[in-house]
Every structure is written in structure tokens, then in C-alpha cells.
């Protein structure tokens, strides 16, 4: 998983650099955009896993681990709900793209479904990771560390 992310980063860097040194072509910007989307959507679960996301630590910072776990176990449901709606929208939009062969309204006109499928996968993984965080919190409340 992590090394896959290195690859995505490489692609992004490469595509941005290549367009500087070679002829400016129509496709680089969009490829870079697709790579960026794939990068952060697929990287999302990773950032969730290592806890890189900012929280508002006005009160949170001072709590005990147990209290943190209690609040998290409830408030993460909101996150899961959000990801669920996001996934629903993503699948909806992807099936539409597949059905009508939707193309991006630019000069290059790439097909949109491949990137949408990647987004679906990424959001789905994010959802799984969020659920895993939820179970970790519950486990913590029961006194077990995962």
C-alpha cells in the first residue's frame, strides 16, 4: 500500500516536470489532476491510519485516553456516515459515466470512468479504515489494545 503511494507521487512529479521540459501538450495537466485525485483519495486511509488528520484539540488534548476513545467511538459515526454518502454518490456517478461513456469537457476529452472507479475504491478503503478506527476505539474501551 505505502509503496504504491510512492508510485503515485512519482507519477505526479514526473508529469509536472515533463510538461515543463517537453512540448506543452493537452494531456499532461489532466493526467496530473487525475494523479492528484488518486493520490489524495488513496492516501486518505493512510493518513487516517497514522492519525495525521487535524483535530480541534482545545478540550481533546487534555483528556485521558479512555475519554478520547469514548468520544471518538460516537463522533466517528458521523465520519462513517459522511464517507457512506460520499461512496453512494461516487458509485452513482461512476455508473452514469460507464453507461454513457462520459468524457471530460476539455480538448483532450479523456474518459471519466477510470478515475471515478479509482475514487470509488479509495473512498471505500477510507470507509474500511474509518470502521477499523471505530473498532479500535471500542476495543480500547474494553481495555484491549489492537
Amino acid at each position: 500500500m505505502m509503496y504504491g503511494l510512492f508510485v503515485i507521487f512519482g507519477v505526479l512529479l514526473w508529469s509536472s516536470i515533463s510538461k515543463t521540459f517537453f512540448l506543452p501538450s493537452l494531456w499532461t495537466l489532466e493526467i496530473a489532476q487525475f494523479a492528484m485525485v488518486a493520490y489524495y483519495i488513496l492516501g486518505g486511509p493512510f493518513s487516517l491510519q497514522i492519525g495525521a488528520n487535524v483535530r480541534m484539540d482545545l478540550f481533546y488534548g487534555g483528556w485521558t485516553d479512555r475519554k478520547k476513545a469514548w468520544f471518538d467511538a460516537f463522533s466517528i459515526l458521523l465520519l462513517i456516515f459522511y464517507l457512506g454518502v460520499l461512496l453512494y454518490g461516487a458509485i452513482d456517478s461512476t455508473t452514469y459515466s460507464l453507461q454513457y461513456n462520459e468524457r471530460s469537457p476539455t480538448a483532450w476529452r479523456p474518459l471519466l470512468w477510470p478515475i471515478k472507479i479509482i475514487m470509488c475504491v479509495g473512498i471505500f478503503l477510507m470507509l474500511l479504515q474509518a470502521i477499523s478506527e471505530f473498532f479500535k476505539d471500542i476495543a480500547k474501551l474494553k481495555g484491549k489494545e489492537i
Binding site: 507521487f9 509536472s16 510538461k19 492528484m36 493520490y39 493518513s47 497514522i50 480541534m56 458521523l78
Partner: protein
């Protein structure tokens, strides 16, 4: 329920959920998802995802991972060590000279990356121990480093200004140029303050002893070379951009490449450094992107409700406030929010609300971008819950306590407020350079 009520409900439920300490993006997105389903039923279910598609088309965002990458290359590979030594030798003999040199160091670092965290990390790990060893007053230097790191988001390239540019739909180039003079002015004010303070109380920042003055002139000149490096990276990145040879995104990629190559040639890019850099870049980029993604969903609902107009109405028509009063109130609200929110989160939540209001009041949006940036930085540094304060606490050596950190920033915050007021009353400080360059 009236639209204003819905907007206020959304906003307050978001604030309430944020208090629980859940991840910021989860809270914003969650509230947005609930609201869109409640308002538009199943038709609202696509709303959070369409925000993702909209986000994809905002190509200036591609600069985000680039600048973050640059920042981490600089701080992880210790390129800044040489820079610090340069200032050390050149500024050392003056009272408080090392503190002044640290501000200079921060300006150069700011010119190479777009986040304030990198400057702080470099300052706290390189400059701070050295300054303590030279018997500088710990309260003063803690303040110096925090104040200096705040320049990072004002001097181009600046990630915060890129985000602002997208939300306010203003050209990034002009915003960056607008940040240059205020940034340098603020650095100048800091230096002036340190200089006067150390003249009056020499024990705060003793000058270096004789053994340091005996460094030969050629050695001194050799060290000056170190200073060329950041200027070189900056020039490689900015010159093609300002001249219109490359786009913003392309320039950022060149900058990242330049930083990477320098690190490689200096032999500082070990495998371990490379890996930390890339991993950190990924984590930070994802954090930013998910917050923006969630906030765009939130913003879309606000747009759909026409909440901006409602709030605008409330201020200008019903309360009958003067535009300047509103402007100052907005800045104050930033200060309050900055005590508990990250600057990016603050920007994406509040800017969609404030920017149209500012435009409606007839102020210049580029000028407001600079004001906004400085205000966030002040907010970021002010106790009791400044974000920077915690970072500083985490990075500083143990003899510097929370109290020291809190006390240390007071004079610098005052200086920043003076700078803010100057820019507020003389918009030309910010606007002269972009107007000059773009009117040619």
C-alpha cells in the same frame, strides 16, 4: 425554517462536533452530508461527491504537494544548517545579532516553502539550541522563532495564499506579489524591535566574543555562498512564473525539483531522509485535501441556501454597520477562531462566507488576502490555544516551558498588529508591487 436558521444550525452543529475532537474533515463533511440529505432528500446524496469532481478541476491545488514536499526536503535534509552558519558569522558581533540573523534565516526559508511549520521546525532545531548556548534570553528567542516562522505563509510561495486565491477567484501571482512587501516589512519591524530591545538591555542578546570575529574574510565570503542557494531556488521558481513562461503548477514542480536536486548534490539526501520526506508529504497533503473536499461540500450547501446573502444582509442592512467596522469584526472573529482551528480549516470554512461579503463591501480582494494571512498568523500564535504554541512546545528543548512560550510572543504579536494596522490603512503596501508588475 428560514434559510438563515438552517445556516446557523449547520454552523453551530459543526462547532459543537468540532469540540468533541473528532477529525476536522469528518465533522465538516458529516454535517454537510446530513444537511444535504435533510434538505434535498435523495437528490442531495450526490452533493459530497460532486465536490470531489469540482476539486479535481481546481488545478492550482496541484502545487500543494509540491510546496509541502519542498518544505520537508529543506527541513529533513538539514540544508538550512549552512544558512544558519552564514548568519551566525555575519551577524554575531552585534548585540542581539543572532536573533536578527534568525529572522533573516526565516525570510530565506519562507522564500523556499509555503508553510509556517517548516520554518518553525528549522528554527527550533537549528537556531534555538545555538542561541541558548550563547546566553540569549530564552523568552526572547522563543518569540523570535515563532514570529519568524509566521513569515512563511506571507512570503511567496505560500500555500495559504494559493488556497485563498482559489476560494476568492483571484490570480495567485498577484496575491503572492502582494505578500512580498508586507512580509519583508514585517521582518523589518521584527528586526527593528530586536535591535532596539537589545540595545537597551544588552544582557538579552550578548554579542559574540572575540574568537568569533577572527574568522578570516575569505571564510566569511565562502559562507555567504550558502545564502545564494535559497535565492537560487526562489529565482528558478519565480522568474519563469512571473514572466509567464510557465504556469503556477509547472513552477511549483520546478521548485520542488530544484530543492530535491540541491539536497542530492549536497549529499544530504539519504534514503531515510527521502522516505520521511515522501511519507510526510503524503500525510500532510491528504490532510489538506480531505479538509478542502469536505469543506467544499459544506460550502456548496451554503451557496444553495443563499446563506451568504442572508448574512450580508444581516450585517449591512439590519445592523447598519459601517464596512470598516465589519472588516475589523471579521478580523477579530478570525483571531477567536484561530485559537482552536488550523489555518487551512479556518480558511475553507470561513472564506466562502467572508470573501463575497468583502467583495460586496467594495474592498480589494487581493489586499484582503494579505490581511487575512497576517490575521491568521496572529491568531495562530496567541494563547491560550494557539496552534503554533503547541508545535513550539513539542519541538523546543525541555528548559523552555509553556509559560516562556506564552510570554515570549507578546511583543511580537504587538509588532504584528502594528503591521496589520499599517496594511489596513495603507493598502498600497500590499498592492503596489502586483500593480507595478502587472501593469507593464
Amino acid at each position: 425554517m428560514s434559510y438563515e436558521m438552517i445556516a446557523i444550525m449547520m454552523f453551530s452543529s459543526m462547532m459543537l462536533m468540532l469540540m468533541t475532537g473528532q477529525r476536522v474533515f469528518g465533522v465538516i463533511g458529516g454535517v454537510a452530508a446530513v444537511a444535504s440529505l435533510a434538505l434535498w432528500g435523495t437528490g442531495g446524496s450526490d452533493l459530497p461527491f460532486s465536490a470531489a469532481m469540482k476539486l479535481m478541476k481546481w488545478y492550482p491545488l496541484l502545487t500543494l504537494p509540491m510546496f509541502i514536499f519542498m518544505g520537508y526536503v529543506l527541513s529533513e535534509s538539514k540544508l538550512a544548517d549552512d544558512l544558519y552558519r552564514m548568519f551566525h558569522v555575519w551577524m554575531g558581533p552585534v548585540n542581539g545579532g543572532l536573533a536578527i540573523g534568525t529572522i533573516g534565516l526565516m525570510v530565506l526559508i519562507s522564500a523556499m516553502n509555503g508553510l509556517s511549520v517548516a520554518g518553525m521546525a528549522i528554527g527550533a532545531t537549528i537556531a534555538l539550541p545555538e542561541l541558548l548556548r550563547r546566553n540569549y534570553d530564552k523568552r526572547m528567542i522563543t518569540g523570535v522563532i515563532q514570529a519568524g516562522s509566521s513569515l512563511g505563509i506571507l512570503v511567496p510561495p505560500s500555500v495559504v495564499l494559493v488556497l485563498y486565491a482559489m476560494i476568492a477567484r483571484q490570480p495567485v501571482g498577484q496575491l503572492w506579489l502582494a505578500g512580498v512587501i508586507p512580509g519583508l516589512m514585517m521582518a523589518g519591524l521584527f528586526i527593528l524591535y530586536i535591535y532596539i530591545r537589545c540595545k537597551l538591555q544588552p544582557q538579552l542578546g550578548p554579542a559574540l566574543g572575540d574568537e568569533h570575529r577572527n574568522i578570516s574574510m575569505s571564510e566569511k565570503l565562502r559562507l555567504l555562498n550558502a545564502g545564494l542557494l535559497p535565492l537560487g531556488i526562489f529565482a528558478v521558481m519565480m522568474v519563469p512564473f512571473v514572466n509567464g513562461w510557465t504556469s503556477l503548477v509547472e513552477s511549483s514542480a520546478i521548485g520542488a525539483l530544484a530543492a530535491l536536486l540541491t539536497a542530492v548534490f549536497k549529499g544530504r539526501m539519504t534514503k531515510q531522509v527521502f522516505e520521511t520526506t515522501i511519507r510526510q508529504t503524503l500525510a500532510i497533503t491528504c490532510m489538506f485535501m480531505w479538509i478542502i473536499l469536505a469543506a467544499m461540500g459544506f460550502g456548496a450547501i451554503f451557496d444553495g441556501l443563499g446563506a451568504v446573502r442572508a448574512i450580508d444582509d444581516l450585517f449591512t442592512e439590519q445592523l447598519g454597520l459601517n464596512p470598516w467596522v465589519i472588516l475589523i469584526l471579521m478580523q477579530l472573529s478570525f483571531l477567536v477562531m484561530g485559537t482552536f482551528l488550523d489555518d487551512t480549516a479556518m480558511l475553507v470554512i470561513v472564506a466562502p462566507l467572508y470573501v463575497p461579503l468583502v467583495r460586496h463591501l467594495g474592498f480589494d480582494l487581493i489586499w484582503y488576502g494579505v490581511l487575512y494571512t497576517i490575521t491568521t498568523q496572529i491568531a495562530y500564535m496567541t494563547p491560550p490555544f494557539g496552534y503554533n504554541l503547541f508545535l513550539m512546545r513539542a519541538m523546543a528543548p525541555p528548559e523552555i516551558g509553556v509559560r516562556d512560550i506564552y510570554v515570549s510572543i507578546v511583543p511580537f504579536v504587538l509588532v504584528m498588529i502594528i503591521a496589520l494596522a499599517l496594511i489596513l490603512f495603507f493598502p498600497q503596501i500590499a498592492l503596489w508591487l502586483p500593480n507595478y508588475i502587472y501593469q507593464k
